[in-house]
Assembly symmetry: none
DNA sequence: CATGAATGAGAGTTCATTCAT
DNA sequence: GATGAATGAACTCTCATTCAT
């Protein structure tokens, strides 16, 4: 029975993701979720008490999956340059993605939940994890002589801010792939020795 | 007549700004505005037909004021370095501001109005104006030998993305003044010759 | 001054007539009248306290005009058959008219003011006047041997009900000119001797 | 489930009928219906989205019932004269009815919905059905030598216009039973041979 | 577990009517 | 007389949330 229940939970999470991707966070109502899932109003409340709870569950699952994904890919890499390129390629995907994109919903969630909550922590941890990974890549790369980088930590922050900026510009004013490529190239060329 | 009316319009714009700063865009209702202005429901509709209209008016006025402000300050500057520092100082203020801060409301507006509208154009124009100004500063600075900068346009974009990223990080996960300072320093130090 | 005032009153009545013709009675608001007249809200209230008052004034004027009109035409007629045809021709015009048509507004007014009021009396008097005129025409015609008509009063009522029925059918389900002609012919042919 | 729901639907239709009979169509609000039904605002919207929908449902049911009613009575009749008298008796009831009377509401609906819609069609079909039935009665009656009637179709129209005229006169200026009787007699006496 | 009818709070919007100028 | 800004009541419609079945 627990299994069946879990399946339904998963089902709701998956379906609801579509709505959040389409409407952001604030404009999604429990009714929207009920409708896309084709379940009963009361049924939804058995699993989630609010749109916030559903959204939290969606993000949790997403982070898990991404984590596994990244871990797998990282182990296959050899040089730090490769790693950096991989990292940026993933980010590029996030910046340009249209479908299944929870970026806007995520920002809206953060905007309306300034006070620290579980979901907020989730998102922030993800961001910090990005900085950490990037810092390590840069540190290692500098040690190995692949990169020129005096202050890896600061450089990592700098890159992350740029990526975050591109992400939001992409969602609000539109960004072409070539614009993103140029900017990513600019970042990389500032690091690579003998560019 | 017109004068008195304009005063009331200004009054509403000013007061409503507080609500948008506090609640973002999507969660502001006409009722909120009515209440903070202490006017009647119907009274508000004499001036604005929706929260979107009020918000547009707020941004319009803000941009005017900022424009004048900046113009004054720019004429007082002598070197491009001074100009750059001034520009970044203004941006720092925007990144860290807490009161009267429409950043979140602006993002929420853009998120929920993907299709081009007047207000959206206003905001995008402002962003583009930032890039233009910055590009000119970098070009001039490079010519005068103040900066090291091979591709001013790209560099300007890069800086703007970073600033945008910091802006949003500041509103979502919080950013200390020293974090902002370090990042701004990082930007400047990448440009100045003989750093 | 009284003259000027009267002019404005007349102006309002004329303009407001357009609105009532277009929207009926119930759906006309004081705002509608203010707008079509391009006068101030308060200004309208100096002359009329409600849509009902405006409507009453419109009907009053209309009846006056119609009365004069008819009186003129009646004096020019010689035979009762001519008079009857004239009468029916006028009715036909009323049945088929599209512009300046207050039929619907009039019915709506009566529907929502079941209790006797001045305006109601006006309308009813007009209807009764129609019966009276028609009765006289039929009586005279019968005396002169133009018509076959045993009970002129009842016949007059009968014709008026038919006309009223056509009027409302015309406004609700649509009636072509030929349909009206056929019915009028049917009425006349039932009266004329040696049809 | 469906059964219970249908019961409530029927309950709303019945109760709402009272309001429409009392206030016509245009002046009935969803609030009025909510109040007479003693249900919640949202509850009403589960069944009907507008006053127009409720009204449509009322008329639909009414027409169904009337249809059955008439069919039963018609089979019991033998001569065409009997049928005609029955038909006129039913019409008399409609003309004089006070309770449960949707005449005014129906006219108001038609006035404010000139464009063809489902409800309008319903009403017009009912009117046309009346003409058809009457025409058949007159045709048969003429064939059997019961009536004198050269053009049954036109005569049927003529009678229907009179009835419609009486209906509206009854609702607007008032009509006594004896007035109606006299007029019905006038109609019949024009048809019966050896009058 | 699951359903979906029902409730009621609350947002948007429109106007009749007043009143200071 | 004339104006039009201002008020507040009234209406429409949507949802979060509950609860009997």
């Amino acid at each position: 029975m627990g299994e069946k229940t879990d399946q339904k939970r998963e089902y709701i999470i998956t379906k609801a993701g579509e709505v959040f991707a389409k409407k952001g966070f604030l404009q999604v109502t429990m009714k929207d979720i009920v409708e896309i899932c084709q379940i009963s109003r009361g049924g939804l409340y058995l699993y989630f008490g609010s749109t916030g709870e559903v959204f939290h569950a969606i993000l949790s699952r997403q982070l898990e999956e991404e984590g596994e994904d990244l871990a797998v890919k990282l182990t296959e890499m050899k040089t730090m340059s490769d790693l950096l390129l991989l990292f940026l390629k993933e980010q590029k995907k996030l910046i340009l993605q249209k479908k299944e994109d929870l970026t806007i919903a995520t920002y809206e969630y953060l905007f309306s939940h300034t006070a620290e909550d579980e979901t907020g922590k989730l998102i922030k941890d993800q961001f910090r994890a990005g900085i950490t990974v990037l810092t390590k890549i840069l540190e290692q790369g500098a040690l190995r002589g692949e990169f020129y980088c005096e202050d890896p930590k600061q450089e990592a922050c700098s890159i992350m801010y740029s990526l975050e900026g591109m992400k939001i510009c992409s969602k609000t004013m539109g960004l072409s792939e070539s614009q993103v490529d140029r900017q990513l190239l600019h970042i990389v060329s500032g690091l690579l020795i003998e560019e």
